[in-house]
C-alpha cells in the first residue's frame, strides 16, 4: 500500500458559484469549505435550489467556480482549461446519473468502453476491461444487450461499470436511485457500499434520507451553504437489509 497522501481527495475553500440573470445575481453556491478524504462515502443532501447540484458540478469538474479554491487530489481545478477539465473527468471521476445516460442502440459493453475511447485505450484492451467491469457489477452475461433490453436496475449497473472502468479517484452519483423502485434502489446502494468498502471514494447527491442513511457522512446544503456536516458512524448495510427482506419473503 502507498502511504496515505498528506492532503484530502477533495478540498474546497470558500467555493462560490454566482449566476447572473439579467440584473439578478444568484448565488448558487456561497462559500463552501469541505474536505472529503479518500475512502469516504458521503451523501450530499438538501432541497432543490440548495446548491447541492452546483456543488456536484464543481467537484465533478463539469463547471468552474466563480471564486474560491477547489483541489481534487491536490490539483488546482480552477486553473484548468476546458480540455484539461475533460481529461480530469475522464481519469478522475466516474459519474452515475439518475437517468443512467446510456447511449441508446449501443451494446452495454460499448457503453462501458466509452470513457476508455476518450482515454485513447486500444480497442482490444478496452473490451477486456469493460467486460471485467460488467462482470464485477453482475452483468457479464448481458454485455451485448442494448439499454432498451435491460431493466432500470441493470441499466444503472451498466452505468456504474462505465463509471468504474477508468479506475477513477471517486464515484460521483447524482440521485442514482431516483428512477428506480425501492428494491432495486437497495441493490444499487448495496453495490455502491461494496465498492466503498473496497476503497472507492463515493459522493452521493440525493434528497432522500432513505438513500443517505447508507453513507458514512452527510453534508446538508441550504441556500448555497453547508448547514450541517454530520458523521454517521454506523451507516446501514444495504446488502444486509436485502438479505433480510429475502428471508422474510
Amino acid at each position: 500500500m502507498e502511504p496515505p497522501a498528506p492532503f484530502p481527495l477533495i478540498h474546497t475553500r470558500d467555493l462560490a458559484k454566482v449566476y447572473r440573470l439579467g440584473d439578478n445575481v444568484i448565488k448558487a453556491l456561497d462559500g463552501v469549505s469541505v474536505d472529503i478524504a479518500r475512502g469516504e462515502m458521503t451523501a450530499v443532501m438538501g432541497p432543490s435550489g440548495s446548491g447541492k447540484s452546483t456543488f456536484m458540478n464543481l467537484i465533478g469538474c463539469l463547471d468552474l467556480p466563480s471564486s474560491g479554491e477547489y483541489r481534487l487530489d491536490g490539483r488546482d481545478v480552477a486553473a484548468l482549461t476546458r480540455d484539461e477539465l475533460a481529461t480530469m473527468r475522464n481519469r478522475g471521476i466516474g459519474f452515475v446519473f439518475q437517468n443512467f445516460n446510456l447511449l441508446a442502440r449501443t451494446a452495454a459493453v460499448e457503453n462501458v468502453e466509452l470513457p476508455l475511447v476518450y482515454a485513447g485505450v486500444p480497442a482490444r484492451e478496452r473490451h477486456t476491461r469493460a467486460m471485467e467491469m460488467l462482470a464485477k457489477v453482475g452483468l457479464g452475461d448481458r454485455a451485448d444487450h442494448h439499454p432498451a433490453q435491460l431493466s432500470g436496475g441493470q441499466q444503472q449497473r451498466v452505468a456504474i461499470a462505465r463509471a468504474l472502468v477508468t479506475q477513477p479517484l471517486l464515484i460521483l452519483a447524482d440521485e442514482p436511485t431516483g428512477a428506480l423502485d425501492s428494491r432495486t434502489s437497495l441493490e444499487i446502494m448495496a453495490l455502491l457500499q461494496e465498492l466503498n468498502r473496497g476503497g472507492m471514494t463515493v459522493v452521493l447527491v440525493t434528497h432522500e434520507p432513505e438513500v443517505a442513511r447508507f453513507a458514512g457522512r452527510i453534508l446538508r446544503f441550504r441556500d448555497g451553504r453547508v448547514v450541517q456536516d454530520e458523521s454517521n458512524h454506523r451507516p446501514e448495510d444495504a446488502a444486509a437489509i436485502l438479505a433480510a427482506e429475502r428471508k422474510a419473503a
Binding site: 463539469l62 463547471d63 476546458r82 475533460a86 475522464n90 481519469r91 459519474f95 470513457p115
Partner: protein, 410 residues
C-alpha cells in the same frame, strides 16, 4: 478517437433515422449528379466545336479578293477579281512557312442519270486538298497533268454522292456539270457541318483550269488567272499573326498599293474565329457547371440544417460524452465526420446517378458527352468540401456546449 471509430459512430447515428439521412443526402445527390451531367454535356459541346475547327483545317488564313467600286457603288468583298493564281504562287514562294491554295468558286446544276442537284463548284490546285485537309473516302486525287491539261475529272463530297448516286458507287461514273461531262475519280471523306451550320460536304472539286475554261465561264475568263479566294496554311509552330502581316505586306506590294490606301483584298485569320467559338462554348460549359453547383450549395445547407437538429436532439448524449471525458476536438470530430459522411455518401450516389444520366442523354438525345474522370473527382471533392464547410458550424456548436447544461437538457 480514431477516424475509423468516428466513422462507425457516424454511421450508427445516421442509421437511426434512415429516411431523414437519405432525404438530407438527396440535396447533395442531385447537386453532384447535376454537376457531372452539366460538365459532361458542356465538355461534349466543346469537343464538337473543337472537331469542327479541326475539320476546317488548322492554322488557316483566308484571303478574299477585294471590293471593287463601280460608278461610286462599292461592291462587297469577292466582287472584284483582284487575286490571281500568281499571288498564291508568290505567297508559297516568298513566305516559306506557308502553303497557299487558290480557289475559284461557283455554283452549278449537276446531273447524273435522271437525278440532278445544285451544288458548289471549287476549281482548285492539288495544294487545296492539303490546306483544307480533305481526305478521300474512295477513288484517287488529281495529278498535276489534270491541272495542266484541264482534264474533265472531279471529286465529289458526301452530300453530292448521296443526292446523285444514292447507293451506287460514284467512282468512274460520268456526271454533267452545266452540261459538261465529268468523270468522278474520287469521293471525299465527310466533314459534317461547319461552325456556321452550312454543309461542308455539299461540293464538287475540279482542276482550276477546267473550272475556269469549261464551267464557270465568261466572267472568270475576263481576267485570265484571277481567283476568288486563296487559302493559306501556316506551318505548325509559326506565329499566325506574323504570317498574316507578311502575307498582307506581300499582296500590297504585288498589287502596288500606296501606303495609306485600302487593301483590295480581305484577309481573315480563321484561328481567331475558332478561338472565339471555343471560348464561348467553354463559357457555356462553365456556366452550366456553376448553375449545377448552386444546387450543391443548397444541398449543403440541407446538411447544416439537419446537423443542427441532430445536435439539439442529442444534447444529452453530447453532455454524457463530455462528462466521461470527450474533449472539444472529440465532439467536433464526431459531428464533422457525420456531416462529411452524409455529403460523401450523397456525393458517391450522385456520381453514379450523374454518370448514368449523362450516358442516358448521350444514348437517347444523341448529344455528344465527355465524361472526364477529373470532373467526377472534382464533384466528389466538392461534396466533401460542402460537408466540411456546412458541417463545421453545427459541430462547433456541439463542441462548445456547456456540459452541465447539456446533461440537464430535456
Amino acid at each position: 478517437m480514431t477516424l475509423f471509430g468516428l466513422l462507425r459512430v457516424a454511421m450508427r447515428a445516421l442509421a437511426v433515422s434512415k429516411l431523414r439521412s437519405a432525404l438530407t443526402m438527396l440535396g447533395i445527390i442531385i447537386g453532384v449528379a447535376a454537376v457531372i451531367v452539366m460538365i459532361a454535356v458542356g465538355a461534349g459541346a466543346q469537343a464538337r466545336v473543337e472537331e469542327q475547327i479541326r475539320s476546317l483545317g488548322s492554322n488557316l488564313l483566308l484571303i478574299l479578293s477585294g471590293a471593287t467600286t463601280s460608278g461610286g457603288v462599292r461592291m462587297g468583298f469577292g466582287s472584284g477579281q483582284t487575286l490571281s493564281e500568281d499571288d498564291a504562287a508568290a505567297i508559297s514562294r516568298e513566305i516559306p512557312e506557308t502553303l497557299a491554295a487558290p480557289a475559284l468558286r461557283g455554283t452549278a446544276q449537276v446531273i447524273w442519270g435522271n437525278q440532278n442537284w445544285s451544288t458548289v463548284i471549287f476549281g482548285i490546285t492539288p495544294e487545296y486538298v492539303e490546306v483544307r485537309q480533305w481526305e478521300l473516302a474512295a477513288g484517287h486525287m488529281f495529278d498535276p497533268t489534270d491541272i495542266a491539261g484541264a482534264t474533265k475529272v472531279c471529286l465529289i463530297g458526301q452530300t453530292v454522292a448521296r443526292q446523285l448516286f444514292g447507293g451506287v458507287d460514284p467512282v468512274g461514273q460520268v456526271i454533267r456539270v452545266r452540261r459538261v461531262p465529268f468523270t468522278v475519280i474520287g469521293v471525299l471523306e465527310g466533314k459534317g457541318q461547319s461552325m456556321m451550320g452550312s454543309d461542308q460536304d455539299d461540293l464538287i472539286l475540279m482542276p482550276i483550269t477546267t473550272a475556269r475554261n469549261r464551267v464557270l465561264g465568261a466572267s472568270a475568263r475576263a481576267k485570265q488567272r484571277s481567283v476568288g479566294t486563296i487559302w493559306v496554311k501556316v506551318q505548325e509552330g509559326h506565329d499566325m499573326k506574323a504570317a498574316e502581316e507578311q502575307v498582307r505586306a506581300l499582296l500590297r506590294q504585288r498589287h502596288r498599293l500606296q501606303p495609306g490606301a485600302d487593301d483590295d483584298f480581305s484577309l481573315r485569320n480563321l484561328e481567331e474565329v475558332a478561338a472565339t467559338q471555343e471560348a464561348s462554348s467553354r463559357v457555356l460549359a462553365l456556366l452550366l457547371a456553376a448553375v449545377a453547383s448552386v444546387s450543391l450549395v443548397v444541398g449543403g445547407i440541407g446538411i447544416m440544417n439537419i446537423m443542427l437538429v441532430s445536435v439539439t436532439e442529442r444534447t444529452r448524449e453530447i453532455g454524457l460524452r463530455m462528462a466521461v471525458g470527450a474533449r472539444t476536438r472529440d465532439i467536433l470530430g464526431q459531428f464533422l465526420v457525420e456531416a462529411v459522411t452524409l455529403s460523401l455518401i450523397g456525393g458517391l450516389v450522385g456520381v453514379l446517378i450523374g454518370v448514368g444520366t449523362a450516358m442516358g442523354i448521350a444514348e437517347l438525345a444523341g448529344w455528344r458527352i465527355v465524361l472526364a474522370p477529373e470532373s467526377v473527382m472534382l464533384a466528389v471533392a466538392f461534396a466533401f468540401a460542402i460537408g466540411v464547410f456546412f458541417g463545421f458550424y453545427p459541430a462547433r456548436k456541439a463542441a462548445r456546449l456547456n456540459p452541465v447544461e447539456a446533461l440537464r437538457f430535456e
